[in-house]
């Protein structure tokens, strides 16, 4: 018992404390930078693949795609790193425009739901969507991707742009389960009303804003790469 445990240890000099923390922080910084630099291109590639997978899922006929950024009334050719409202035009093997994939988001039951939806300018239909981000309740809100009745809404969801090209002719709206009458109405999933409503709201908001721009610039989109 030469060194009693309860004896207050002498405080080391501040220099020692600071230098210890500085050394540890430097090792930490070095490790983080090394791994960050190494994984950065891999993560970027993963993100590109994820976007691509979503685009080709909502536009199954597409073989290639171009990215455009919405700049007020115009569409400007861009790449995936461009900041802004991006729309993706899909082309088939003959370089014909098959459809456009557009991002949309709205507040769901537990958080923001982000989707990418496919729009066919020829028939003015929304033809499907892919959920990019969702924290909805498993077994309830997640039914939006599996429920056959709900998916049937997207065979051809009417989204015609009005003559003035200022918005949609008919507001896209989610209606109570089993009461769908028009092509622009979405039949909600019974028991997942909040998530179904969110899909309707986000499609309407994005549709009113983006689809007129698509309509105005449809020739540019059809030309594609040429």
């Amino acid at each position: 018992m030469s060194t009693p445990e309860n004896q207050v240890p002498e405080l080391p000099s501040s220099t020692k404390l600071i230098s210890t923390l500085a050394t540890v922080a430097m090792i930490s910084g070095l490790l983080v930078v090394l791994v960050y630099e190494y994984t950065k291109p891999i993560i970027a590639e993963n993100q590109r693949l994820a976007t691509e997978r979503a685009i080709f899922k909502v536009l199954p006929e597409a073989k290639t795609r171009l990215t455009f950024v919405v700049d007020q009334d115009k569409l400007i050719l861009a790449n995936d790193k461009t900041v802004g409202e991006l729309v993706y035009a899909g082309y088939d093997a003959n370089n014909r425009l098959v459809g456009v994939a557009i991002n949309a988001a709205a507040q769901g039951y537990q958080g923001t739901i982000k989707i990418l939806y496919g729009y066919k300018p020829d028939s003015a239909c929304i033809t499907g969507f892919d959920v990019l981000k969702s924290t909805e309740t498993p077994g309830f809100g997640t039914k939006i991707t599996t429920d056959p009745g709900f998916l049937a809404n997207f065979k051809c969801l009417d989204a015609q742009v009005n003559v003035a090209q200022s918005g949609l002719i008919n507001k896209i709206i989610t209606v109570r389960y089993g009461t769908k009458q028009h092509d622009w109405e979405i039949d909600a999933i019974s028991g997942s009303t909040i998530t179904s409503n969110a899909i309707g709201r986000m499609l309407d908001k994005s549709g009113q804003a983006i689809l007129p721009v698509i309509a105005r610039n449809i020739e540019q989109l059809k030309q594609g790469q040429q």
Binding site: T3, P9, L11, P12, K16, L17, T20, L21, V24, A25, I27, S28, L31, V32, V35, Y36, T39, I42, I43, N46, Q47, A50, K133, T135, T137, P138, G139, F140
Partner: protein, 226 residues
């Protein structure tokens, strides 16, 4: 240097196995229950979370143990947190590089490993007092025990909550999934059931030993009285 090497117990198999059964972090010590309840809704999520925790636990305990004689007592917790946060950041980037899908499903829980009390607890209680090799071996055992517990929870929850195991359909499609199992309450129910079972087994084992001891003791006493 000389102060901490007062009486190092030798490295035994027990150092490794303690974390798996006798001192299992989840079932016995009840440490780090937040990710245990949150991410164990499927086997794959549990496994990924377990592996990430093993990596952080082993690396941070190795570094803490290697630096244990250089870190002044006054700044030890700060230093441990910096070290742990470093490895969590690395895991965060690595998982993004391996699979974005997995990263999105685990959500914020990867970053939250920083505040998992299991890791800080082991750094303070074990790695800061034991040799490098012992710390690494013990951390690995603890990590395996943690992963085992996560997978045991994830397996039951995925099986009952989705009728699947590792994404493969186990029950026929007629099986109505118990959605509650995937939701947070399911985590509590399954954890509670496992604790009940494990404690029952433990108690029967110790109970038998006590019963045997008292039985032999009684016979001796009755003999002496007779």
């Amino acid at each position: 240097m000389t102060h901490t090497t007062k009486k190092e117990t030798p490295l035994t198999l027990d150092v490794f196995t303690a974390g798996i059964w006798k001192e299992n972090p989840v079932f016995v010590m009840m440490l780090g229950l937040c990710p245990v309840l949150a991410v164990t809704n499927s086997v794959l999520n549990s496994l990924a979370m377990g592996l990430a925790s093993i990596f952080v636990l082993v690396c941070s305990n190795a570094l803490v143990s290697a630096l244990r004689n250089f870190i002044p007592k006054q700044v030890r917790i700060t230093t441990y947190i910096i070290i742990i946060a470093t490895f969590v950041t690395l895991v965060d980037y690595i998982i993004q590089a391996v699979s974005l899908d997995l990263y999105n499903r685990l959500g914020a829980f990867i970053q939250l490993i920083v505040v998992n009390c299991l890791i800080l607890g082991r750094a303070e209680a074990y790695a800061s007092k034991n040799s490098f090799t012992k710390s690494v071996v013990s951390a690995f055992g603890m990590g395996l025990g943690f992963t085992l517990a996560l997978v045991m929870l994830g397996g039951v929850r995925e099986l009952l909550g989705a009728g699947q195991l590792l994404g493969y359909q186990v029950f026929s499609t007629n099986f109505e999934p118990w959605v509650v199992m995937i939701l947070p309450p399911g985590g509590f129910i399954v954890l509670g059931s496992w604790l009940l079972l494990i404690n029952y087994i433990e108690q029967r084992k110790t109970g038998k030993i006590i019963a045997n001891n008292t039985a032999s003791h009684c016979t001796v006493e009755s003999e002496s009285f007779g």
